[in-house]
Subunit: 218 residues, 2 copies
């Protein structure tokens, strides 16, 4: 990312050359993360930005912030379930369904994408969306390695390589380091978006992100 | 409110006659509540609805939900302060300032409005906004009775009557009962809006509220 930031402005104006990528942090068990993941690519593209997709582990982050999964909080939990589906309809994404097992640990899909960012970055957006859709549209438990690998394979990821990757100590360490870096940048929820240092939390801040990209701040 | 709901449809279509009022719940120490309070009247009016303004006490509600003030949560707190001001600018309300003392207990202004809803309902919107503006624009600590009374008096509320009201056991009980009713209706934050049983939490759900009013659900 620093390389891109420091690169000289490209003549052709291809996405992400003039400016730092839009940093997009998400947990694979986050409904609002899923909905935002389907929007962020188009938003960035409209403003000629690349997206830096970073899976995080809310479980680790919640320990630091003393938070808990939204659906487990009294009163708020019931509301949240209703709001997930209403937000999906509001954003024109009605295929969203709350999975039968929710939330799930997300180390497996997060490791897969952490590895893929290094191994084959061009596949990251499609693989991320394939994993998210398996979980939030087709009710497939992507915390199970078999299921995560199948979803990613559907997006063109090499299954054997991915399997080795999610079991590798190196990738586990890389994910842990990525989560620590995210926390150090102030990330505490999902989705979380950073545009040149400015933090935006939540699906409902995409409008702020869009205006920020358009005007360079407001 | 039930009376209005059950009333026959009025011929003239004046606000709030055909449908139940938009229920608007807010805490006087809630920045997003303040911003939403400046929007909800116009939204309701566009859809020929009245607003039922109900001050609540987040301190009481947070005890039930195990929540704490946003600004006191690690990481989230720093973000929230930034987001308050950015949200104010985004919504064209740049006079917002985080008060020097924040949050404050809100029994005093909440009792005042609870009493006013009964004593002089026509003054409720202006008095609510006057109290909110004193706190979030002019940095006046409205938890102090003198300051709350002065702000309300500026909106046409009788000062002596208001003073007697905020000290009265009956008004204290009425506020307690209103908070209990709000909790029973699922209210857990501020602002909280209910349109014919459909709950909406947060400034960022005003768009959902507007679409809901327009289409009768979505």
């Amino acid at each position: 990312m620093n390389q891109m930031t420091n690169a000289p402005a490209a003549a052709g104006g291809s996405p992400g050359r003039e400016h730092a990528p839009v940093e997009f942090y998400f947990d694979f068990s986050s409904p609002y993360g899923f909905l935002a993941a389907q929007k962020i690519g188009a938003i960035a593209l409209r403003h000629r930005r690349a997206v830096d997709w970073t899976p995080i582990l809310l479980g680790v982050i919640f320990k630091k912030t003393g938070s808990q999964p939204l659906t487990e909080i009294p009163l708020k939990g019931e509301y949240a379930k209703r709001d997930f589906e209403r937000s999906a309809r509001f954003h024109g994404l009605p295929r969203f369904r709350l999975p039968s097992r929710f939330p799930v640990p997300t180390q497996v899909p997060a490791r897969l994408i952490t590895w893929l960012k290094d191994a084959s970055p061009g596949l990251v957006p499609a693989a991320t969306l394939a994993l998210y859709r398996a979980y939030f549209e087709d009710d497939i438990d992507i915390s199970v390695p078999e299921h995560a690998l199948a979803a990613a394979a559907g997006a063109g990821v090499d299954r054997a390589e991915a399997q080795a990757a999610i079991e590798s100590a190196q990738v586990k360490d890389a994910l842990r380091a990525a989560v620590d870096r995210a926390i150090a940048r102030g990330v505490f929820g999902s989705p979380f978006i950073i545009v040149e240092g400015e933090p935006f939390w939540g699906l409902d801040r995409l409008e702020h992100v869009e205006r920020w990209l358009e005007k360079g701040g407001f």
